[in-house]
């Protein structure tokens, strides 16, 4: 059917659509922040103590990784607009590598917890009391959902990188790159809040 429609492009519409979608994502995590605030209020001490077991070091490293990756993808927009295709691809490749590094860190971090029998539904965790159960439940659910977003973001960026290589995204048609950037920044933005709420409330 689209053959008969006049092909015209509205970049601002795509970007508006992306922003509206990001609002949805914000509210999706927002629901979890509601749950977090209620249970933290009800189990303040337990949350406080449980948070001490998380590795602030890995958390900080991961925060910095995400911040750097946000910078690289933001820079790639500048690169593409300056018609520097090669540099843009390098920056996007860097973003993907950093995203993967984040996931690898996360994997080891979760692995440590699993070794200590801390995972949802674990009977050893249940013995430690309600506050710990809820803290780790939220921790795994929220960081897990965040990691899922990282994976989606990485796939999105990979597709964009290929489109750049195939010259589908160019210096005068780069709204998709911008949108993937927006998505990636949102994932970063959510991490900026997850980090203090889980690692720094000691």
């Amino acid at each position: 059917m689209s053959t008969i429609l006049v092909k015209h492009r509205d970049d601002l519409a795509s970007k508006t659509g992306m922003w509206f979608f990001l609002f949805t994502e914000l509210l999706l995590f927002g629901g979890l922040f509601i749950v977090y605030s209620v249970y933290r209020y009800r189990n303040a001490t337990a949350f406080h103590l449980a948070a001490q077991e998380l590795s602030v070091f890995i958390g900080t490293i991961n925060t910095i990784i995400l911040l750097v990756s946000s910078t690289t993808i933001a820079m790639s927009i500048t690169a593409i607009r300056k018609q520097n295709k090669k540099f843009a691809v390098v920056l996007l490749g860097l973003t993907i590598i950093l995203g993967l590094a984040f996931l690898v860190n996360k994997y080891f971090e979760w692995g440590e917890h699993f070794k200590e029998h801390i995972y949802p539904g674990s009977s050893i965790l249940a013995l430690r009391g309600h506050g710990d159960v809820l803290f780790y439940g939220l921790y795994f659910f929220m960081t897990g959902l965040h990691a899922l977003h990282i994976i989606i973001g990485l796939i999105f960026i990979l597709v964009i990188t290929i489109s750049i290589l195939r010259n589908r995204i160019t210096s005068d048609n780069y709204v998709l790159l911008e949108n993937s950037g927006l998505y990636w920044h949102l994932v970063d933005l959510i991490w900026i809040f997850l980090f203090p709420l889980f690692y720094l409330i000691t």
């Binding site: 059917m1 509210l27 999706l28 809820l134 659910f141």
Partner: protein, 535 residues
């Protein structure tokens, strides 16, 4: 507004695209064809839900087991609720009439993201399929009610996962539709159509779009938490693990109350189109109508707690929610007053859509006022979870949205199909529908006030008479529904050809041929006047 009398372009129904047969529909990105895809799927699910409702009413004709066991009844009210709420009334007006008319009414050729639009329909079908799969697989169908209340929803042996995930997917479909409409309205209005020259139906879709966008994710995440709870035993809502089931109710209603406004706002928008057209008069208080739509959407976001007055919330929260609930009545009342004022001194043309609009106002008023009774803390203690609640929300959801849906159906039928329907049969159908409706649900107010609880397949002997009357009402309602739908389908063949503007409407959709050509407008119109410029 240029008139486009000469039909050279094929209509969207005749257009031969890349694909043939059924593929020209299920692969079409034309907003009009997608609207019809939604229409047919929604009608099918509506028929399913209505039949289940009919069977449940038949079960209640006598105390004790009549035709089904308690467990079947539980499964039935669950399925009835999920289908009717998530698959019929929430997408009903926006996905069918919004899709068909929004681009036309704002002078655009399609929605902003046509392929996303088609994807939303696929999500919709997937979601309903998952819900239906849950009925026939696993250890018995879900029996929690459409609200999936914790902790029962992760303790029951019923097959919850596909049903909950289905509702999640339906939410996704709803979000994408809302997003699409918002961007369409922001970016694609015809030149000269400033915000305040936009007709009311697009305006209500705009308000609805924001609710879809900002409320649906909350239930999305809540349903995911229920899934996690069932599979991983995280403990979010499990009192045995420190979770709080009332928090589930908070999150659930944070979406599901605004969802009521997803249902009713576009309904109000459709009524606001019908009434000026058949009164041949400008809509009274246009600015107030716009403002009240936005106010309903906004305030409606903060009243969710009135579903939980007896759940054990703190009394501060009770007072706050009761107050906010009363506030939301104000913009709704503004709308009713403005509709009446529009009719005042108009030259009223008594046609079927206008009767539906009248029916809408009548049942909506009853539903609205009974809502205030439930919104007061003291009376709610008595009426909570009784048939009174059942009657109230059927008056709003089925009475409000349903009447507006059929009103819109009869109003835009000539535009959509290019045929006129037999208005005599349509009126007979409406008369039976309204009579059956009032008998069926009106009696429930009385039953609930007397203390008959909802969601039981059995009841005390003292409620017997009321239930007999109510069940008989369901037969009248159902036959009225049958006549309406058969009439509409029969008119597809036998109806006379519809002119481009059969009712004398002033909005843009009446300026193009019926059925509309593929691209809607030959030339995008330039708007100079407000939407309802009579005289």
């Amino acid at each position: 507004m240029s008139t486009q009398k000469d039909i050279e372009e094929p209509s969207y129904l005749d257009y031969k695209g890349k694909y043939k047969g059924i593929f020209s529909w299920i692969l079409s990105t034309d907003h009009k064809r997608i609207a019809l895809l939604y229409l047919y799927s929604i009608l099918a699910f509506f028929a399913t839900g209505a039949t289940i409702g009919l069977l449940m009413k038949f079960e209640l004709i006598a105390p004790g087991k009549t035709i089904m066991t308690a467990q079947t009844y539980n499964a039935f009210f669950t399925l009835h609720g999920i289908i009717m709420i998530f698959a019929v009334v929430i997408p009903g007006l926006p996905a069918v009439f919004g899709n068909f008319l929004l681009p036309i009414m704002i002078g655009a050729k399609d929605v902003a993201f046509p392929r996303l639009n088609l994807l939303s329909w696929y999500f919709y079908v997937m979601g309903v399929s998952l819900v239906l799969i849950s009925q026939f697989t696993g250890q018995g169908p879900p029996d929690t009610g459409w609200t999936f209340y914790a902790p029962y929803s992760f303790r029951t042996t019923g097959n919850m996962l596909p049903a909950v995930f289905g509702a999640f997917v339906l939410g996704f479909s709803s979000i994408l539709t809302g997003l699409n409409f918002l961007v369409t309205i922001h970016r694609m209005r015809a030149p000269g159509m400033t915000w305040l020259k936009m007709p009311l139906f697009p305006w209500t879709l705009y308000a609805t779009g924001w609710i879809q966008l900002l409320a649906t994710p909350i239930i999305g995440i809540t349903l995911l938490m229920i899934i996690a709870e069932r599979t991983l035993h995280i403990g979010f809502f499990d009192p045995a693990l420190g979770g709080d089931p009332i928090l589930y109710q908070h999150l659930f209603w944070t979406y599901s109350h605004p969802a009521v406004y997803i249902m009713i706002l576009p309904a109000m928008g459709a009524i606001s189109e019908i009434i000026p057209t058949f009164s041949h008069k400008t809509l009274f208080g246009y600015n107030f109508m716009v403002a009240s739509s936005l106010a309903i959407a906004f305030v409606g976001y903060f009243v969710w707690g009135h579903h939980m007055f007896t759940s054990g919330m703190s009394s501060t929260a009770l007072y706050a929610f009761s107050l906010l609930t009363f506030l939301v009545a104000i913009p709704s009342a503004i709308k009713v007053f403005n509709w009446i004022a529009t009719m005042h001194k108009g030259s009223i043309d008594l046609q079927t859509p206008f009767y539906w609009a009248m029916g809408f106002i009548f049942v909506f008023m009853i539903g609205g006022f009974s809502g205030l009774i439930l919104g007061s803390l003291a009376t709610d203690i008595h009426l909570h979870n009784t048939h009174f609640v059942l009657a109230h929300f059927h008056f709003i959801v089925f009475g409000g949205t349903g009447f507006a849906f059929f009103g819109a159906m009869h109003y835009w039928y000539p535009k959509i199909t290019g045929k006129m329907y037999d208005s005599r049969w349509a009126n007979i159908g409406l008369f039976l529908f309204l009579t059956g409706f009032l008998v069926l649900y009106g009696t429930m107010f009385y039953l609930g006030y007397e203390g008959m609880p909802r969601r039981y397949y059995d009841y005390d002997e003292i409620f017997h008479t009321g239930n007999i009357i109510s069940t008989m009402g369901s037969w009248v309602l159902y036959s009225g529904l049958g006549i309406i739908i058969i009439n509409l389908f029969a008119s597809l063949k036998s109806g006379t050809k519809a002119p481009s503007n059969p009712w004398g409407g002033k909005t843009l959709e009446w300026s193009i041929p019926s059925p509309p050509p593929v691209e809607n407008f030959k030339e995008i119109p330039v708007i100079t006047k407000g939407p309802y410029s009579y005289k």
